[in-house]
Amino acid sequence: MALALILILIVVGALEFHYLSPWWLTPIASNWQQMDDALLLTFAITGVAFVVINLFVAYAVVTFKHQDGVRAAPTHTSARLEWWLVGATTVGIVALLAPGLAVYAKLIDPPPDAMVFEVLGQQWQWHYRLPGKDGKLGGTNVRFISNTNPYGIDPADPGGQDDVLVEGQEVHIPVGRPVRVLLRAQDVLHDFYVPEFRTRMNMVPGMVTSFWFTPSRLGRFEVMCAQLCGIGHFNMRSHVVVDDEPAYRTWLAAQPTFAGLAATAGDEAGKQGRLLAQARGCAACHSVDGSAGVGPSWKGLFGKNETMNNGATVHVDEAYLRESIITPSARIVRGYQPIMPAQQLTPAEVTQLVDYIKTIK
């Protein structure tokens, strides 16, 4: 009796939870309403099966519970019933599969006029690149990747010179235009995941993968990594901003190009260190605007007094910065975790980084 009651409670509770849950799909921001429709259809069909079978078991448990002197029925098979059930299940499966595959056919067929942007994944940050005036992305190869060329753009490819290299962890795209996202990874697997866009794809070192969508409303959407990529996986963040056309144009015009970046070498204090910090992924965990991250922000860090996790106070000077870069786990600031991997850096590069950190006030 208790068992039947619990099974009924599970059914009622599940339905109630389903309809009242505050946790539900994020409001969609792309053209893939059909994916949501397929999902809801799946909820409907599987929901019926869940309710009916649980209630059937509950009913059977109550009705056919052991009573003294009553024996089980000798019936044990009915090919007719079984084939009917197989038939009904097959109909349900086809009803799920057909619309699912129909959407999928569109998902893998990007419109030929779609605009393009590229995402390069790195432990644990994102780099964005857009084609320049020629409308083409220049060729890339991992072996070209360096501190001054974090995208690995082929310097000999004229098509790459005007490529737009986005500064910072935010890419903009115009609303209402189909966009094809090309994905690369330089170290391990990543996954470019924006829940509001619904579709997504893994990023695989050695390959270029892709997916497409049309952003359908303005907004600033969070990008997450959804393929385990190491200790910093849970904090590999950035944003996609969907702009109207004029705002997009303005933003695009302000971004540097590959050739432009190369031309303006070494004229600002700490520039080498800044490029290094972006290329090596330091910027993913250490903000330069004081915002909270996995590691302490670099804003105003130099000269500050920090409390370590053993209670000691440390004056952040050059020696401490050097130590923390070369042996990250030596002394950890209170409230942070010893998760920073040791990087292979030349003494000159360490100096560049320290010089850069000093400039961030």
Partner: protein
């Protein structure tokens, strides 16, 4: 045949270096349960961090990922696979088929010691420099062997070596089980008279023999990539600012090999559970299993199809998109025979004489948890529905229900059911019921709401969810609730250990056949059965194992080995009652 008739005499040959399938089964079971408890504690540690982030300082991000990886690998491979095949398979195959032992008893013993070695190597990875690997149980390269992931110093090497040893153990056991089923059945035991438990374990073992080699070769290849610098799975990469010498490897190749093993692995765990549940329901509902023939065919068809669905784990991996059509179709097709099994279990209950014993509670609980886990599989198998849910908590909820909770409920049901045969004593019924209720209701409370965190878009394998604007604070409250339930359910499992331990020593004498079951293992001359199982004469089988629901006479069932002309004599129906 392996059984030579000479009985071992010393303590060592009887209980340690034993070649008796029943002793080996108990060794396998205890070892698997012990490492399974470790896996459970690891899951509770993960839940502490998820429910109360940062409150437990010793669970840092590295440890979290290490706990997560070890939890997954332990539960799937070292607990469930070993327990169903090495534990239940070893105990039940010879007894249910009327054999005196496995056909290769020495190999059988070796299988256990290799398994134990694999478990010890795995446990050793907690003590090597850098700790165990934190690459996730899927061990995807390049991440699993490159810096930035915990345990790339030694942990990943130790894990791979342990898996290779485990596969050797599983192969030795597996060849034995298959050969025994095909060669050592007693007179009259045709294949279509075998209990469904044996069908499930037999088919799962064949799957294991075909699937594990894919894991074996990928493990060897990854070891070469890690230790010798080959490039099977690692292309040219820049890792932490360093250009590595690898070139031309394919991360996707590993994923294909891994899931060519990994998907059949799901059924290696599920098929024995299907078989056990079928037998439990039939015995405790006192009714013939509904549609025996279709149940057998469903097991075989599921086993075959399980080899052509693997890439549904890879819809967003970057493989050729056309594969999506094929794998979505095969995956949803496999739902048909699976659904038929669920229907037939419920139809067996229909007009039965249902005794809600502890094993029966677990069996009916299994129907419900397997139902929801199977149905959410229809979301994830259907490629375009999977894409937004991939790698979110929806996936975590799905696979825990379908291949975590459900097989574990089958394990519990099976252990309670056969405990009286193994020990000759009855478990404590009240403790067993408490164990069932908390485990069954608790797992629903843990995993049902998790589906909705996945719908929201919370990715799995996140150490923390700080400062994500789209995740409301209520999600954290829900995570805290889930953690508390998980701790309660975890602690309850100690009741189970306590119950078996205490009852094995002090439990009430159960008699040879407390469930009035028809299958052969309940009709051994001694309980617990002794070496050689059957005494002077091996049993002769006259019918299948489901002759229940007889209308006339004193008894409502007929044992498999009772000659048709012999008068039926009623046995005392002791059941759980003292």
């Amino acid at each position: 045949m392996g059984y030579g008739g000479e009985h071992p005499h010393s303590f060592w040959t009887r209980y340690v270096w034993s070649q008796d399938h029943k002793v080996i089964a108990i060794q396998y079971t205890i070892t698997a349960l012990a490492i399974g408890l470790v896996g459970m504690v690891l899951s509770d540690l993960m839940r502490l961090q998820l429910g109360f982030p940062g409150r437990f300082a010793f669970i840092d991000a590295s440890r979290y990922y290490q706990f997560m990886t070890m939890h997954g690998m332990i539960m799937i491979v070292y607990l469930l696979t070993a327990l169903f095949l090495g534990g239940f398979g070893n105990y039940l195959i010879p007894l249910m088929l009327g054999a005196r032992d496995m056909v290769f008893p020495f190999l059988n013993m070796l299988s256990y010691w290799f398994y134990l070695l694999a478990v010890l190597i795995l446990a050793a990875s907690f003590f090597v420099p850098g700790g165990p690997t934190g690459g996730g149980w899927t061990l995807y390269p390049p991440q699993a062997i490159l810096p930035g992931t915990p345990g790339t110093e030694w942990g990943i090497v130790v894990m791979l070596v342990s898996l290779l040893v485990f596969i050797a153990a599983a192969t030795m056991g597996g060849l034995n089980y298959v050969t025994t089923v095909l060669q050592a059945r007693t007179e009259g035991m045709t294949l279509m008279r075998m209990p469904l438990t044996v069908w499930g374990i037999f088919t799962a073992t064949i799957l294991a023999l075909f699937a594990f080699p894919a894991l074996f070769v990928s493990g060897v290849m990854m070891l070469f990539d890690k230790a010798l610098g080959t490039s099977f799975f690692v292309p040219a990469v820049v890792s932490m600012g360093q250009h590595l010498p690898h070139q031309g490897g394919s991360p996707l190749l590993f994923q294909h090999l891994f899931w060519f093993f990994g998907h059949p692995e799901v059924y290696i765990v599920a098929l024995p559970a299907f078989g056990i549940i079928s037998d439990l329901i039939s015995v405790h509902a006192r009714k013939r299993i509904f549609g025996y023939k279709m149940m057998v065919w469903a097991i075989v068809v599921i086993g075959v199809l399980s080899f052509v669905v693997w890439a549904h784990h890879m819809y967003v991996s970057g493989m050729h998109p056309y594969f999506g059509f094929f794998f979505a179709t095969t995956t949803l097709v496999i739902a048909v025979p699976t659904a038929l099994k669920v229907y037939n279990w419920t139809l067996t209950l229909w007009r039965g004489d249902i005794h809600l014993t502890v094993p029966m509670l677990f069996a009916i609980g299994f129907i419900s948890t397997f139902l929801i886990g199977g149905l959410t599989g229809l979301f994830l198998g259907n490629v375009s529905v999977d894409i937004p849910l991939s790698n979110t908590y929806f996936v975590v909820a799905h696979f825990h229900m379908v291949m975590g909770v459900s097989p574990v409920l089958a394990v519990f049901g099976g252990l309670y059911h056969w405990f009286p045969k193994v020990t000759g004593r009855m478990y404590d019924v009240m403790l067993g019921r408490v164990h069932f209720w908390i485990t069954f209701v608790g797992t629903y409370l843990i995993f049902f709401p998790m589906h909705y965190l996945g719908l929201l878009g919370m990715p799995r394998r996140y150490y923390a969810y700080d400062h994500y604007a789209f995740i409301p604070d209520s999600a954290q409250a829900l995570n805290a609730f889930i953690t508390i339930v998980a701790l309660v359910v975890g602690a309850t499992q100690l009741l189970f250990v306590l119950n078996l331990w205490w009852s094995a020593v002090r439990g009430r004498e159960a008699g040879g056949n407390p469930w009035r079951a028809a299958s052969l293992e309940w009709h051994t001359p001694q309980t617990p059965p002794v070496h050689g199982n059957w005494g002077e004469r091996a049993p002769v089988v006259y019918r299948d194992a489901y002759e229940y629901g007889l209308q006339g006479g004193d008894s409502d069932y007929l044992p498999q080995d009772q000659p048709p002309d012999q008068a039926r004599q009623a046995e005392p129906a002791r059941g759980e009652a003292p």
